[in-house]
């Protein structure tokens, strides 16, 4: 806790400094103390204030809190890759339309927000199946499965869009997308949802809504999509219990739940979160042939 306390203070001071400087708007007397990372009560802008200051300040403030804004140059491209490690449960719709539940003993998902690309490594089992190991990859518009990371790829048709959506469902991915939507044509919109800030924008024509919690960390990400696996539906990710795993002022949720429509398809406890790790997504050599 002491470490979190030490880490949270500078990050939030930075937010306050940035907001104080932003567009000459001084701190309002109406700001409300909010708790962040469980460390202490600090003054963060209210939802109303962020909405009043507009999408750029709101999105960059949230990105700052999440550790995406770095360096004296206030770079918003400093975090480009990420890896989540955990375990939990998941559900998948089988070809016959029934839902199958799995226990996931190993969950490692790595992301590259630039390509964009993702690799999901799973070790899972269910009462009706033998233990499975799966490695699902997407890089740009191509999707494939791998026998081992980077080795023996098998193309998977119609999976690229679904797998790529998982990148933008992450807290960091959703804000990464919002930062890039801060253009005149980006259409970032702000709303007050029961006191919390909601940020809306479109990515590849699909609406994304990101709702922040009282500490300005992503609480919920909704993505309206036409999924190859689930049809027209809303994908919803919920995040909680943020923790700065490595001490780089990079809070990650320790609990994440994904829903496809009414079905919970993933419930994972995150045990490690690495910022900017070495993760690459070259097409396996056998597929190049």
């Amino acid at each position: 806790m002491n470490r979190l306390f030490i880490l949270a203070v500078p990050a939030l001071c930075a937010v306050i400094t940035m907001l104080s400087n932003a567009q000459g708007i001084a701190q309002s007397k109406q700001t409300t103390p909010r708790s962040t990372l469980g460390a202490r009560k600090v003054v963060l802008p209210t939802t109303a204030e962020l909405i009043a200051r507009g999408p750029k300040v709101a999105v960059e403030t949230a990105a700052e809190v999440l550790g995406l804004v770095r360096g004296a140059q206030r770079s918003t491209t400093a975090v480009n890759t990420m890896e989540l490690v955990g375990n939990g449960t998941m559900a998948e719709r089988a070809a016959d339309g029934t839902w199958r539940d799995y226990k996931v003993t190993r969950f490692t998902e790595s992301f590259d927000f630039v390509i964009p690309a993702a690799r999901l490594e799973l070790e899972r089992s269910s009462p009706n199946t033998s233990p499975q190991r799966q490695i699902q990859v997407v890089a740009g518009k191509q999707a494939w499965d791998e026998e081992k990371p980077g080795i023996n790829g098998t193309p998977v048709a119609d999976a690229a869009d679904d797998r790529r959506r998982e990148i933008w469902l992450t807290p960091q991915g959703a804000l990464w997308g919002a930062l890039r939507a801060l253009t005149p044509e980006g259409g970032v919109q702000l709303a007050n949802e029961q006191g919390n800030l909601a940020i809306g924008y479109s990515l590849n024509g699909e609406p994304i809504k990101l709702v922040l919690n009282s500490a300005l960390l992503p609480d919920k990400v909704q993505l309206q999509a036409h999924s190859a696996a689930y049809g027209d539906m809303v994908l919803e990710a919920n995040y909680s219990q943020y923790k700065d795993f490595e001490g780089y002022l990079f809070p990650c949720p320790t609990r994440m739940t994904y829903k496809a429509g009414a079905h919970t398809i993933r419930n994972v406890m995150i045990t490690n979160c690495v910022v900017n790790p070495y993760v690459i997504f070259p097409m396996p050599a056998n597929m190049k042939k």
């Binding site: 770095r70 004296a72 770079s75 400093a78 480009n80 081992k148 780089y248 790790p277």
Partner: protein, 292 residues
């Protein structure tokens, strides 16, 4: 290693340059503070000087980026003129190394080595030999701070690590000669270098490396099969340096590293500072694996 001195210089570099580019620590010979005044590094273009044989003359003192003036307060103290978050050196260091890892230009290792790269990166403070008083080596040390060129050879001189240089290291590179039969097999930090001209571009071919140095700080290891090609091209008072690292034992494809642009230092008083002595005395005090 004199970790404190090393970290101080690194933090200074972060604060001054924000790690987007870090001016090498070229200092003037007199005055109350080092001279990094950009106005003294005139960048006006002029014709590329040439040797008698017609090749470009790369000789000179070279500086990465354009230096910023150092601010000195009324007591003569050097003032940090870069805005780290909350003025915190620790934040500057954390951000700097996090940003160092943001470069999407990564070497593509064979899949069986991905975990090793991650491990080395995670344990950089214990695994990176540079942190334990060893040289950076080629190509990690980057471009030289000073080049002395004759018709038959080049001498590369390197400066302290703020520029990514390598602890006052040096290289003597013959032109149009084959690799040395012994040195090219010697497995050293710098390897064995030979140069040739490709038009106006100097191409330096380097082999004979050990397998201890890294290609860069992110755990990018290599084997003794490493083969480095460096290309240097001078146009007026600008020098472009680019290295390509190939190690077919561990890399899927040669890694073409980002080019570095250097500016000729016109200040006649500028000089290369002596590096800090390196004595390992911090390792036993490390309590985390936080990157440095």
């Amino acid at each position: 290693m004199t970790r404190h001195a090393w970290r101080s210089s690194l933090i200074l570099a972060a604060l001054v340059g924000g790690f987007s580019f870090v001016p090498i620590a070229l200092h003037a010979q007199y005055g109350s503070a080092p001279s990094r005044d950009a106005s003294r590094s005139k960048t006006a273009s002029f014709a590329t000087p040439r040797m008698a044989d017609g090749h470009p003359d790369l000789s000179g003192l070279w500086m990465v980026g354009v230096a910023r003036p150092v601010v000195v307060d009324e007591k003569g103290n050097v003032v940090m003129n870069g805005a780290a978050r909350e003025g915190s050196g620790a934040n500057a260091e954390r951000d700097g190394f996090l940003r160092k890892r943001m470069d999407p230009n990564r070497p593509v290792y064979k899949p069986e080595y991905w975990d090793k790269v991650q491990y080395l990166d995670d344990h950089e403070v214990s695994e990176d030999s540079y942190f334990h008083c060893n040289p950076l080596g080629v190509p990690r040390q980057g471009p030289p701070a000073k080049i002395v060129q004759t018709a038959k050879e080049l001498i590369f001189l390197y400066e302290a690590p703020a520029a990514g240089g390598g602890r006052n290291a040096y290289r003597i590179i013959p032109i149009d000669r084959p690799h040395h039969p012994v040195a090219s097999q010697d497995q050293t930090w710098m390897g064995d270098s030979v140069a040739k001209w490709d038009g106006d571009t100097l191409v330096v071919d380097v082999v004979g490396f050990n397998d201890v140095s890294w290609l860069d700080i992110e755990g990018y290891f290599h084997t003794t099969a490493l083969h480095v090609i460096e290309r240097l091209r001078r146009e007026g008072n600008t020098l472009t340096y680019q290295a390509t690292a190939d190690d077919p034992k561990v890399l899927m494809t040669p890694w073409v590293m980002n080019p570095v642009t250097l500016t000729l230092v016109m200040d006649p008083d500028a000089y290369i500072i002596e590096d800090y002595p390196c004595h390992e005395r911090d390792e036993e005090h490390l309590v985390t694996t936080e990157h440095h």
